[in-house]
């Protein structure tokens, strides 16, 4: 059996712009990289029946999510000539305007970086056991569903 290095993708609370900047800056010594692609998910203040979303509270089946993310990572690296890939997802209460998902791929050329990033985002939304509970301004809530 191949050795499995399961990385943690979960961060308690929002993902800060300075965390993202540090991640970007960490790649300047990797001089075979020519293109980086980033996707960030941000909590929207959607209106539902006159109520406004003020935050999303994320929970996950962490063990299963990390296993699944490991599988996705292996498949993505097998299919795209990536230099590296980083995925971070928030848990807990994330307010509107804050960042809850950060996907970052780097490659020698732009196309694999962009295509891999897009595919990772789709697969995270479809395959990872994570749930978002939209908290409204009147303290009621509703459970999000990805389409």
């Amino acid at each position: 059996m191949s050795e499995k290095k399961i990385r943690n993708i979960f961060i308690e609370g929002a993902i800060s712009p300075s965390f993202i900047a540090d991640s970007i800056a960490g790649h300047s010594s990797k001089t075979t990289i020519g293109g980086h692609s980033i996707f960030m998910g941000q909590v929207r203040n959607d209106e539902v029946d006159g109520k406004l979303v003020t935050a999303i509270e994320y929970t996950a089946y962490e063990d299963l999510a990390l296993e699944k993310m490991h599988e996705i990572r292996e498949e993505i690296f097998a299919r795209y000539p990536l230099h590296c890939m980083h995925v971070h997802h928030s848990l807990g209460n994330i307010k509107t305007g804050e960042i809850c998902l950060f996907v970052f791929t780097s490659a020698a050329h732009r196309k694999p970086a962009i295509d891999a990033c897009t595919e990772i985002v789709e697969r995270i939304k479809a395959e990872l056991p994570i749930w978002g509970k939209e908290i409204f301004d009147n303290k009621t809530h509703q459970w999000k569903e990805n389409k």
């Binding site: 998910g41 994320y58 929970t59 996950a60 089946y61 063990d63 299963l64 999510a65 296993e67 699944k68 997802h89 809850c100 998902l101 985002v121 995270i124 939304k125 479809a126 395959e127 990872l128 056991p129 994570i130 749930w131 978002g132 509970k133 459970w143 999000k144 569903e145 990805n146």
Partner: protein, 77 residues
């Protein structure tokens, strides 16, 4: 037999995570039928099971002390 039930998302609002004594049964399809009797709100809901941290695609054999997660549609990202 006994199973460890873990529930998530909106399902966790009416079905708490719990150790649960259930009649002997042999696979996860039978378990689904049983759970829908115990928790009628499950009927008609979309959900997936995970057996001992593996997603259940087709019915799996069920053993004493297995861990079963009941998961509504995902909404990460």
């Amino acid at each position: 037999m006994e199973i460890q039930l873990i529930s998530f998302g909106k399902i966790s609002e009416f079905m708490e995570s719990q150790k649960m004594e259930i009649p002997d049964m042999s696979n996860t399809d039978e378990l689904k039928t049983y759970l829908e009797q115990c928790f009628p709100k499950l009927v008609g809901m979309k959900y997936k099971l995970a057996l001992n941290k593996n997603m259940v695609q087709t019915s799996q054999e069920l053993k004493n002390n297995d861990t079963i997660a009941i998961m509504p549609p995902f909404s990460g990202g």
